[in-house]
Structure formats: structure tokens, C-alpha cells
């Protein structure tokens, strides 16, 4: 499927997401509360069937936090990027996609650990790398004078 | 009956596979000449490293104790770990102009990751990798090295 076709198919399947034909992949921007239903449809729609969660990245956009999902389809070998933005920096939360892709479990724990984004309904949301005394190091406003030496 | 045949075939194939494995190890046992172990401290004199081996960063000096470092500091900027510090000095040339030279080119071997960016980006090829690989010392401070030799000068013609 060509990218433009994929774009059209995605736009038809998930009308509530803002879809854009990005530089590399089709990009979708979804509100956090609609994320789970959008993701579910992206996986289950037979002409999309995004059944592989390639990558799950936590982002700090300065003002907002965000989560970026890279999805791939086994059958069609096409990719799409789903983005969601959370404006609440103090108590960020987004729905977990573990029930859709079980492989998301570790990714989400990592994002929780490094950026402090909570995932609702996550089976086992604990910090994965760092202990509880650390802040959230991948946030842009994270300060650590002891361990980070900037040139 | 079939299971009985399977049973004995299993035994036979199992023993055969074990014997095949034993021929490999036994083969090496009875051919002791095939050992490849390097007798490292003994072969120190004859051990030659590859010419591109990244042992440590050095600043080659010629026989007149001259180096090529102009003290521009590009290596310092490019080093990802901050293992290079260039301490510049100024020198008044014969024409009376002030010129930037190096006072000390400090290299922290303990922080170096041997990425090679300093050597690659040096505009005057003043740095190089040596084949020295025995870096062990008893004191961490000895890992901090001054690369330009005392009393050395900038090579003529290098800007």
C-alpha cells in the first residue's frame, strides 16, 4: 500500500485522530483519552492490522509530555506513528496499551521510570531502571548536578 | 512394537551423536599443535599490533622536539567525554604578532573511549593513535597525561 493510500485508510478508520502524511510515516495525533480505542481499531481493522508495536517513546516537548508509538503491520509491512500529548506535567497519565500489545509492558515501565508518565491499567507499573529516589531524568527540566556534568 | 524400535533407535542415535562430539574434542586433544594461545608477556618483544590499533592518543614529535598542534581546541570540542583539555598560551612571534600556541595538551586516558574523533578532526594532524596497549597503572592520576613534551615547539609551516 502506498503511503497516500494508507493515509486515506487510516483517516477513514480513525476519524477522531488528527492524521497527517508525515515525512517518513503517516502520523496520527490522538488525545490521551481516546488513545486506547484508536489503538484498538488500528490493530483490528483488517486493512490496517497494525499488530506490532515497534517502539514506544516518551517525549518531553517542553510544555507538554507525550508518548509516541511506532506501529508496524506484519501483513502489509507498513508503518504509522501515533502521538499523544499530555499537558498535565504534574500528574501525567495515559491509557496503557498492554492489553493490545503485551510487549508494551516494559516500554511503558521505562517511560514511567524516565519521564514519570503514568499508564492507567498497566499490570505492573514500577520503576524499571532507577530506584524511587531519582527524579525523571529524561524531562528537560531535570536537574542533577552530581551525576550530569555538562560541558 | 514400533515404540520398542523407536526406543532402541533413540539409544543408537544418542550414542552416535555423543561419539561424534567426542571425536571433535578428542581430535584436538591428539593434535596439540593446533593450540593458538598467545604467550602474552613472553611475546612482548615480537608482538606487533595493527597499525590502526587505537591504543592511546599521542602527539607525535619529530627529532627536533617539534609537534604540529596549534592549540586550536577542535579536539577538545569534539571529544564526547571531555578527556582532552587544551591549555593555550600566547607567544609573540618574530614579527611582533601575538600567536596562540599550546601550553599544555592534557589527555585523560581514564576517560577516553577511543572513538577517534579527536584524531580524525584535527586540522593539522597533530594527534595520532599509538599502539601502546598496556595502560595499567597503580595510581589513577598517572592516567592524566600531558601530550606535548616539555620544551617542544610548533613545527614550522603548520598553521
Amino acid at each position: 500500500m502506498e503511503k497516500s493510500q494508507l493515509y486515506a485508510a487510516i483517516a477513514a478508520a480513525v476519524p477522531e485522530a488528527a492524521t497527517a502524511e508525515g515525512k517518513q510515516f503517516v502520523e496520527l495525533t490522538v488525545a490521551p483519552e481516546k488513545l486506547k480505542s484508536v489503538m484498538g481499531r488500528l490493530r483490528d481493522e483488517s486493512n490496517l492490522s497494525f499488530d506490532i508495536l515497534v517502539c514506544l517513546t516518551g517525549m518531553d516537548y517542553g510544555t507538554d509530555l507525550g508518548v509516541v508509538y511506532h506501529l508496524r503491520s506484519y501483513a502489509f509491512n507498513h508503518m504509522a506513528v501515533v502521538k499523544t500529548r499530555i499537558s498535565d506535567r504534574e500528574n501525567p497519565a495515559v491509557d496503557s496499551v498492554c492489553s493490545i500489545w503485551p510487549g508494551a509492558e516494559y516500554h511503558e515501565r521505562e517511560v514511567y521510570d524516565l519521564l514519570g508518565i503514568r499508564f492507567n491499567d498497566h499490570p505492573d507499573l514500577r520503576r524499571i531502571f532507577l530506584d524511587s529516589t531519582w527524579g525523571y531524568p529524561l524531562r528537560k527540566d531535570y536537574k542533577d548536578d552530581v551525576n550530569i556534568v555538562s560541558k | 512394537m514400533k515404540s520398542v524400535i523407536e526406543y532402541f533407535r533413540g539409544i543408537f542415535n544418542g550414542i552416535k551423536s555423543l561419539l561424534v562430539g567426542m571425536t571433535v574434542t578428542g581430535g584436538y586433544f591428539f593434535r596439540p599443535g593446533t593450540t593458538l594461545t598467545q604467550q602474552y608477556p613472553d611475546n612482548r618483544d615480537t608482538l606487533v599490533m595493527f597499525e590502526r590499533f587505537k591504543g592511546e592518543v599521542v602527539m607525535p614529535h619529530n627529532e627536533k622536539n617539534e609537534h604540529k598542534c596549534t592549540g586550536c581546541g577542535i579536539c577538545e570540542i569534539n571529544c564526547p567525554n571531555g578527556s582532552i583539555e587544551v591549555i593555550p598560551a600566547t607567544e609573540v612571534t618574530e614579527e611582533g604578532k601575538k600567536k596562540r600556541i599550546i601550553d599544555k595538551h592534557i589527555y585523560h586516558l581514564g576517560m577516553c573511549t577511543f572513538c577517534g574523533l579527536c584524531v580524525k578532526t584535527c586540522p593539522s594532524q597533530a594527534l595520532a593513535f599509538s599502539q601502546e596497549f598496556e595502560h595499567a597503572v597503580f595510581d589513577r592520576t598517572k592516567l592524566t597525561k600531558v601530550l606535548n613534551q616539555p620544551g617542544s615547539k610548533l613545527m614550522k609551516g603548520v598553521e
Partner: protein
């Protein structure tokens, strides 16, 4: 609170054993908290982060050239492929076409990296199962590839050979001869691997039917690399989204359907042979030309986001770079294959024995620095 939570999960009548961080079979500082009932594993809980270095955070303060040498230290057995992943991402962002010569050399180097990684896998996997001799044979053969690396790149494991736009320096004049010599040598000794381990009845009994992942599970968990392909998940990036010179070679994607320890092992064995075939096709045809494209000394990616996957020895490594137009990236994310492959360990090992847990862990071929990053 965190600690209490953990205690609550563990405090019951099960026999809790820590495997790791100081344990011979965890290949690094992975800690597995294993709940046992007799010899049977009830639950495995990986605890990671012992060597978390925050590479993603460090990248935010470094230029694109400087990032390369950090990626070496993630999956140190696929160092060259990791370098390549970042370089490909940067080149894609800058829309640079690298010279053909670079593509060929990168591909050959990647395949050599894959072979040496699988050799080490074979060595350590044999050792995990108690066949200590495997370790020495594997390392002996791996040494020859490391010598090839050292001659051209100057480093053995940590090669840092790629740079955005090309290579650090050209291949050594001896390179082609040495690679051919190695292929000849390795084709001659690879049968030892099969004789010693693959065919061995004890090994087969221990590995067949252990830690099974079905194709559906593998896809759902995102298992990639030989681990995924042993389950029938056709996930070879080289095949499906070719990069560098992979579109110029013909090779087989090793696929099995069983998804057990034995077939993960077999997939790696076959991949070594397939890698040798790939090198065969390329080694004599390296085109002449420059070893690097023309690059500015300071690389600034145009604003945007870039994602590129490559196939490392362990699976799909994705590099996701978000740039705000500066010389430093805004955010770098590495989708490391080991991190993903570790996740279903509990699923695989549940109900097997301790010895199987070691075999399953070994068959995933985990590199802990890549998990922790």
C-alpha cells in the same frame, strides 16, 4: 512505598532465589528473582537497571558524530550495526546518498559483526548448558573476526567505524583477503559447532520444546531477531525494509515455526551460514570510490523526527531521533531488541525447571547493557 510493594509480591511461601546480579548464567548484571516450587520455576521477575547509564539522556548533550561512540556501548556485540543505525538515521534526515563503497563495506562489516555475535552466543550458550568446551571454540573463531575489525577500524569490539556520511577511514588493503581467508577457515570449522552441540542428544533433549513462543505471541510481544524468527515471525529488516547494500544480495530469511530454545539456537546457526553467503556476494564487488560522503563538520538535522530500524544480531534496533534543528538532538530513543526480548521471559520460563530457565535465558542471547542502555 515502592519497596513495600515489592516485598508484598515476594513474601509468600514460595522459595525465592536471586539469580544475579552476580551469577554466571545471566551474562552480565541481570537479576532474576525466581520463585521456585522444588525445581520448578513458578515465576520469574527480571530486575534490570544495574548498568543504566542514561545513554538517551547523554545523547541530548552530544553532537551526532559523538553519539556514534555511545551506541557501541549498548549492544557491544553488534557495535557496528548500532553505529550504522544512527548513521542511517542521520543520513536519511539530511537526505544524503552515501557512496556505494560505503554501503558495501557497511554491509560486510555488519554481517561479520553478526557472525561474531552468534559465535559468542554459541560459545556462551554451550557454557550455559554445561558444555564448557564450546566456549573456547566459539571465542577462538570469533577472535579471527575481531582481528579483521582491528585491522580496519582500530577497535576490536567497540569499533566506532561509522560516521554520519560514511566511514571513519577506508578499509585496510588486506581487508578483502582476510575476510576471504576467514570465510574459508570458518566454513571448515563450523561443522564442529554442529558436532559438538547441535547434534548432541543431551543438548537436543534439553532444548527442544523449552520456552515455546508461538508466532502470535512473538508478534504481540514484538520479539525480533532470531528469537522472533524461530517462532515464525518474519521480521528481518534486511529483507523487508532493506538498507545499505542488502537490496543487492540474495539471502534466505531463516524461519522456523517451533519457537523453542532449540530453534532459536538453530536460527542463529543458520544465520551465520547465511551471513557468510552475503559476504561472499559482496566481498569481491566492493566498488571503488570515496569512503565518505561530503559532510559539513557540524551536522544539524532539519527539524523533524526520523526513525530507522536495522537488524542487529539480536533483532530490530530502532533509532528515533527528534531534532529541533540544533547540532544536538532533541530526543533520541533506541528501541533495543534485548529490552523487548526480555519482557516475555516469565511467560516462557514459567513451569520449566531452573536448568531450563538458564537455557531459555541463554537462547534469548541477552546483552544487558543494551537492555539498560
Amino acid at each position: 512505598m515502592e519497596v513495600k510493594e515489592k516485598m508484598g509480591r515476594l513474601e509468600n511461601e514460595e522459595y525465592i532465589i536471586n539469580m544475579g546480579p552476580q551469577h554466571p548464567s545471566t551474562h552480565g548484571v541481570l537479576r532474576l528473582v525466581v520463585a521456585l516450587k522444588g525445581e520448578i520455576v513458578q515465576r520469574v521477575e527480571p530486575h534490570i537497571g544495574y548498568i543504566h547509564r542514561g545513554i538517551e539522556k547523554m545523547c541530548e548533550n552530544l553532537t551526532y558524530q559523538q553519539i556514534i561512540h555511545l551506541t557501541d556501548r549498548m549492544d557491544y556485540l553488534s557495535a557496528h550495526i548500532n553505529n550504522e543505525a544512527v548513521c542511517l538515521t542521520v543520513e536519511k534526515a539530511l537526505e544524503i546518498e552515501v557512496p556505494e563503497r560505503v554501503k558495501y563495506i557497511r554491509t560486510i562489516m555488519s554481517e561479520l559483526t553478526r557472525i561474531q555475535s552468534h559465535q559468542l552466543f554459541w560459545a556462551t550458550f554451550g557454557m550455559d548448558l554445561g558444555g564448557l568446551t564450546c566456549f573456547f571454540y566459539g571465542l577462538r573463531d570469533r577472535e579471527k573476526i575481531l582481528d579483521i575489525f582491528e585491522e580496519s577500524c582500530g577497535g576490536r569490539m567497540i569499533v566506532s567505524y561509522n560516521t554520519p556520511g560514511g566511514l571513519m577511514n577506508d578499509i585496510h588493503p588486506n581487508f578483502q583477503n582476510r575476510v576471504k581467508e576467514f570465510l574459508k577457515y570458518f566454513r571448515g570449522v563450523i561443522h564442529e559447532y554442529d558436532d559438538l552441540l547441535t547434534g548432541n542428544v543431551i543438548f537436543q533433549e534439553r532444548s527442544k520444546g523449552m520456552g515455546v513462543m508461538t508466532k502470535e505471541e512473538a508478534i504481540a510481544w514484538g520479539l525480533t531477531g532470531p528469537t522472533g524468527r524461530a517462532s515464525g515471525f518474519s521480521c528481518d529488516i534486511r529483507k523487508h525494509n532493506p538498507y545499505s547494500a542488502y537490496d543487492k544480495v540474495t539471502f534466505r530469511e531463516i524461519l522456523y515455526t517451533e519457537g523453542d530454545v532449540f530453534h532459536r539456537y538453530l536460527a542463529r546457526m543458520e544465520e551465520m551460514r547465511e551471513s557468510m553467503n552475503i559476504i561472499d556476494q559482496l566481498i569481491d564487488n566492493i566498488p571503488e570510490g570515496p569512503f565518505t560522503a561530503k559532510m559539513k563538520p557540524v551536522i544539524k538535522l532539519p527539524e523533524g523526527e526520523y526513525f530507522q530500524s536495522v537488524e542487529t544480531a539480536r533483532g530490530e534496533l530502532g533509532v528515533y531521533i527528534v531534532s529541533d534543528g540544533n547540532k544536538n538532538p532533541y530526543r533520541v530513543k533506541f528501541r533495543s531488541p534485548n529490552f523487548v526480548n526480555l519482557a516475555p521471559l516469565n511467560l516462557m520460563a514459567r513451569g520449566s525447571k531452573i536448568a531450563d530457565l538458564v537455557a531459555i535465558g541463554g537462547s534469548l542471547d541477552l546483552i544487558i547493557p543494551d537492555i539498560d542502555r
